[in-house]
């Protein structure tokens, strides 16, 4: 986590998509992983429409070593988008050097070349057997790519919140997400070295 004097080590994350994709829950799990298992200060806020499914949905997490005064996000360090609409809408809130992570099947028009585009929803559907766990897959990938949170913390937090009887599927989703994320991170670091040279 990079630190500047002014922001007290603040790291801001937004998970966005459409209602029903489980992003508010993913935000709660991430906040729990960081706050309960990693001992950081966190705040988690959300915004969603009145619909149960569809409509824009987002979950914001602020993480800091120090006290968090302003609880909402101002400039994002990391943005996850599971729909084209959310990517178009929120890309402007991302810092210039911030990380953009998108679902490669849902977001076809990328606003920048510096994006991690990964097939979260299809992985969940094909490898776990249900698209319901796409939020866990993408959450694990977010943790792997950003490196803010250890694998154990995410797994523990996921299993704390997982409904009884779904532990296996959620564990599998976690593993797949980490694999996707680490792979993408490796590819990007190679690209960066090639570019720098």
């Amino acid at each position: 986590m990079k630190k500047t004097e002014e922001d007290n080590g603040r790291y801001e994350i937004r998970l966005s998509g459409s209602g029903g994709q489980g992003l508010v829950l993913a935000g709660v799990i991430l906040a729990e992983a960081m706050g309960v298992y990693e001992g950081k200060n966190v705040t988690q806020t959300q915004s969603y429409g009145p619909e149960a499914r569809g409509g824009a949905s987002r979950s914001d997490i602020v993480i800091s070593d120090g006290e968090i005064y302003y609880p909402k996000t101002t400039e994002l360090d990391l943005l996850l988008c599971l729909t084209q609409e959310s990517c178009d809408g929120y890309f402007g809130d991302l810092k210039e050097e911030g990380l953009l992570i998108v679902d490669s099947d849902r977001v076809r028009q990328l606003p920048t070349q510096k994006a991690h585009a990964l097939p979260f929803i299809n992985t969940a559907r094909e490898k776990v057997g249900t698209p319901v766990v796409a939020n866990v897959v993408s959450l694990a990938a977010v943790a792997a790519i950003s490196g803010i949170c250890s694998r154990e913390s995410i797994e523990n937090a996921v299993l704390d919140r997982a409904p009884l009887g779904t532990e296996e599927k959620n564990k599998m989703a976690c593993d797949l997400g980490f694999k996707l994320g680490l792979e993408s991170r490796r590819i990007w670091s190679e690209k960066k070295i090639a570019f720098d040279n």
């Binding site: 004097e5 002014e6 709660v28 906040a31 729990e32 706050g35 309960v36 001992g39 200060n41 966190v42 705040t43 988690q44 806020t45 959300q46 009145p50 968090i68 005064y69 302003y70 609880p71 909402k72 101002t74 009884l164």
Partner: protein, 391 residues
């Protein structure tokens, strides 16, 4: 299967471990910790979680939860429960708080302890159900008719939602008065890490019982500190309750001295104890020329803003009241004499700024920063306002 059972039955109150919870959840747990055993309410966004959680937890501790037909009945029910001896609470948002005003006035007059949590949303009327506002600050002071002196608390974090709900119960018992907790949509739905204190660390006050025999008992006795002991219905003490202006026994009165004594009691029981009812966070005010006066979730933006401003060499500090009514006159006046600019950020078109202006000292400039589009004021907005004033 045994494991399943234990997972389901695990205790809801875990002391001293970090927990991620919402402000509304903290409010509900605070109420339980304070000894609340009766809740009557009507669900309304953004306060519904409080009712939802208490509907599950109250029966487990031997309490009662009732979903009423509306907010008028809700407050009537908690007044009844309180008179019968239970610590009682209701939660609502602006529209429900408006409906409660009539019976709230009854509770002030009949000196019934109870707690009302108002999770503020945009208004007037049904307004903006899922958006934040601070529009009910003046309503919480002047909402019902007549001359009364309420106690109103404004928390600003999830931990404070817990602590100040506990405090609201203690104050309501100590002063025999309804206490309003003004939370807001951001606080209610925001999640933060909280460590709940152990039961011994909580300072819980319960209204004292009368020590005299029942035949001598006066339900509204005027004591030297204006706080009267209280017997509950069914304990062998006979008393009369009415919304009409009454004597010390509770019977309607037309005697001028008794009317004056009653109304003075309603004022003095809070205004004589301003020291105990002042709860203000003062930050970086020692050398400050500029004061930010902020409360509730707006204070969070202000706390960030003063730190940003200090880095730019502005001498700025924060005054944040956590008990907003009675207004902390003395401490605000003290600092007003030392600054030349006051900024009052609020999520309304200027309510509490009137109180600060009432205390204006010489030519201190007092300006508002108002936002009412359903979003929180940002630290940058406060900083920009400050720069605009100081070029």
């Amino acid at each position: 299967m045994a494991e399943v059972e234990t997972k389901r039955k695990k205790s809801f109150y875990k002391e001293n471990v970090p927990l991620l919870m919402q402000g509304n959840e903290a409010c509900a747990l605070g109420a339980l910790a304070a000894g609340c055993r009766f809740f009557a309410g009507y669900p309304i966004t953004p306060s519904t979680e409080i009712a939802e959680i208490l509907s599950r937890l109250l029966p487990r501790v031997g309490g009662k939860f009732i979903q009423m037909e509306d907010e008028i009945a809700s407050i009537a029910a908690i007044i009844g429960a309180s008179i019968a001896g239970a610590k009682a609470m209701t939660s609502t948002s602006g529209p429900g708080y408006s409906l409660m005003q009539e019976n709230l006035g009854y509770a002030y007059m009949a000196e019934v302890p109870c707690v009302i949590v108002n999770v503020m949303r945009g208004g007037p009327s049904t307004g903006l159900p899922t958006k934040v506002a601070q529009g009910d600050v003046m309503q919480s002071k002047w909402g019902t008719h007549g001359d009364y002196f309420p106690i109103v608390i404004v928390p600003s974090s999830v931990k404070e939602c817990f602590d100040y709900t506990v405090k609201a119960f203690s104050l309501s018992e100590e002063y025999r008065i309804p206490v309003t907790v003004l939370s807001d949509e951001v606080l209610g739905h925001m999640r933060e890490i909280v460590k709940l204190p152990s039961q011994e660390e909580l300072n819980i006050v319960t209204v004292p019982k009368p020590y005299e025999p029942p035949e001598w008992y006066k339900h509204f006795e005027i004591t030297p500190d204006f706080r009267s002991p209280m017997a509950s219905f069914g304990e062998g003490y006979r008393f009369h309750l009415t919304g009409l202006t009454h004597d010390e026994y509770g019977f309607p009165t037309a005697s001028k001295t008794e009317i004056v004594r009653k109304l003075e009691k309603l004022r003095l029981k809070t205004m004589r104890h301003l020291d105990e009812l002042t709860d203000v966070r003062v930050e970086m005010m020692d050398d400050a020329h500029i004061m930010i006066f902020a409360y509730g979730s707006t204070a969070r933006a202000a706390r960030q803003a003063i730190r940003m401003a200090r880095k730019r060499r502005f001498k700025v500090g924060l005054i944040q009241p956590r008990i907003i009514w009675p207004f902390p006159d003395q401490i605000v006046r003290e600092y007003l004499e030392r600054v030349d600019l006051v900024i009052v950020p609020e999520l309304n078109q200027g309510q509490i700024i009137r109180e600060v202006k009432r205390l204006r000292y010489r030519h201190v400039k007092i300006i508002g920063l108002n936002r009412f589009d359903g979003e929180l004021i940002t630290p940058q907005q406060i900083l920009d306002k400050l720069k605009e004033e100081r070029h």
